[in-house]
């Protein structure tokens, strides 16, 4: 079941890349939410009608294949991760997600 769903997602990603070939598009599975997040790295596309028109039939394709636990959209956190920005830079840029630094402080506490 999971492999089948991931195959469907990969087909959708391939279709998106055919038109938006410079776009980074990927996905991850959130076990806690039982949900697939198909994400890209261009926030302007979230409010782009052409992109919505292009993606809508792909969403229908997934629903037609009895697959509905997914979403598609820009993901700020994943975008920062692929840019491989060091933590100190993200803090300098006032990015508010502190998950990584929280993990780091936890590991320091354990080490101590």
């Amino acid at each position: 079941m999971k492999n089948n769903q991931e195959n469907l997602i990969n087909k959708v990603i391939s279709e998106i890349k055919k038109k938006y070939y410079n776009l980074t598009v990927d996905f991850y599975y959130d076990k806690d939410d039982d949900f697939y997040v198909i994400w890209h790295n261009d926030h302007l596309l979230d409010s782009d009608d052409d992109f919505a028109v292009y993606v809508s039939p792909l969403i229908s394709y997934l629903y037609d294949n009895n697959f509905s636990n997914f979403c598609i959209g820009y993901d700020h956190e994943q975008t920062l991760l692929i840019q491989k920005k060091p933590i100190y830079e993200t803090i300098d840029e006032k990015i508010s997600y502190k998950r990584e630094s929280f993990k780091y402080s936890n590991s320091l506490a354990i080490a101590a």
Binding site: F35, V53, S56, S68, C71, I72, Y97, R99
Partner: protein, 143 residues
């Protein structure tokens, strides 16, 4: 306007207050419930039978008098509308952002993280929210 729509309206007022005062996580939560309560109200008043049929067809067994899960209601809305029956270009993709907003709401309420800056609030939530709100207004789901 029914009581649920009034509560939705209250949530939006609180959301705007929170946004303006930089309580961004609370704003995310209230904005989301503003949309979600309007969706519940719309389905209850306009698509109740369709929703029951949808659940039956999908084999979804929902206990009576228990609120449907957010995912089921949102999927129903996404599957119910398309470009030809709404004349809204890319309507499924736009409505699909409700799932992204739902996940942002979960993070805002429960994650050990906090949105501190407007730039992040816009990127994480508000840009998609604006698209969804406009789409739901065009569909008369939000007044």
């Amino acid at each position: 306007m029914n009581q649920l729509q009034l509560k939705a309206q209250d949530n939006r007022l609180v959301a705007v207050y929170c946004e303006n005062n930089k309580y961004y996580d609370v704003a995310v939560s209230r904005y989301y419930y503003y949309l979600y309560e309007n969706i519940i109200s719309y389905i209850e008043n306009n698509l109740k039978k369709d929703f029951e049929d949808y659940c039956n067809n999908k084999g979804i067994d929902m206990p009576k008098n228990e609120p449907a899960s957010h995912k089921i209601l949102v999927n129903f809305i996404i599957e119910n509308f398309n470009d030809s029956n709404t004349k809204i270009a890319g309507v499924k993709a736009k409505l699909g952002y409700i799932h992204n907003l739902r996940r942002s709401r979960n993070n805002a309420d429960y994650d050990n993280t906090k949105i501190l800056y407007l730039k992040d609030f816009l990127s994480f939530f508000k840009e998609k929210f604006n698209v969804v709100e406009n789409t739901l207004k065009q569909l008369n789901i939000v007044s």
